[in-house]
Amino acid sequence: MLEDELTVNIRQRDGVAVIDLIGDVTTFAEEKINNAYRQVTARGERFILFNFRQNDYINSAGIAILIGIVTEVNQNGQRLAVSGLSPHFQKIFRMVGLAQYAEIYQTEDEAISAFRRLNTLE
C-alpha cells in the first residue's frame, strides 16, 4: 500500500467554511473529503471553499469525488468555490465541467472576497 498523500483541514474564515486539501486528490481521498463536507454541512455552513494546496496529483477519480459533492451542494442550497489550483488543474477542472458548478479562484483571498460580496447581495 502506498502512502496516503492527502491532509484535510477544516477552518472558518469570514463566514466561509474553508476545507484545505493538501496533497494528492485521488480515489484514496474519498473518505476524507466526503467526511469534511459532511462535517461542515452538519454545522449548517452555506458557503464552502475547497482550498487546494501542494496538489501534485489530481486524477479523474479525485475529480469524481468533487463532482459528487457538487451534486449535494446543489441539493443542499449551498455555494461552492475552489481556490489554489495550479493553472494546469484549473484547465482540467474546466475540461471536465466542474467550473459550471463551482467558481474557480486563483487564491483563497479572492474566493473569500467573492463569497463576501455574494453574502451581501443575498
Binding site: L2, T27, S60, M95, V96
Partner: protein, 143 residues
Amino acid sequence: MQLTIPSILGYEVIARDAVASLAKRFGLAPERIEDIKTALCEACTNAIEHGNHADPQRKVRVVCTIDEQHLIIEVCDEGTDPPVLPKKPVEWPICPYTSFRGRGLMLMAALADEVTVVPDALTGTCVRLIFYRHPTNVVVDVS
C-alpha cells in the same frame, strides 16, 4: 524507456515521475509535461483497475519513446477481456457521462494529440498516447 509496475493504485505515480523526468530532459515545455503526466496517470489507472482488475500479480508495462517531433507512451495491461470503450477515442471528449467516474478517457483524448487503443486477447490491451513536441509545427501526411 520501459517500466513495469504492479497493478496497485498509486504506482502510476512512479511511471509518471519517470516519464516527466525524461520529457523535461528532452526539453518539452512545462505545461506540455503537465498534460503528459495527467494523461499517463489516467491510462495507468485504467490499466490497473479495468484491464488487470487490480490484481497485483498482473503487471502494467509503460514504454516511452521520444524523438524530434513526438513523445509516445504505450501503456499495456495483461487483461484478457476486450476493453469496454464508449465509442472511438476521438468521440470521448463529447461522450455523455453515465456516472461520476469515467472522465479519464475524456482527459486522455483531450490532452494527448493522438490516442489509440489496441486490444489483444492474448497479450492485453495497449493504449498509445502521442504528444507532439510542437503541435502547430507537425505536418500531417494525408497522401
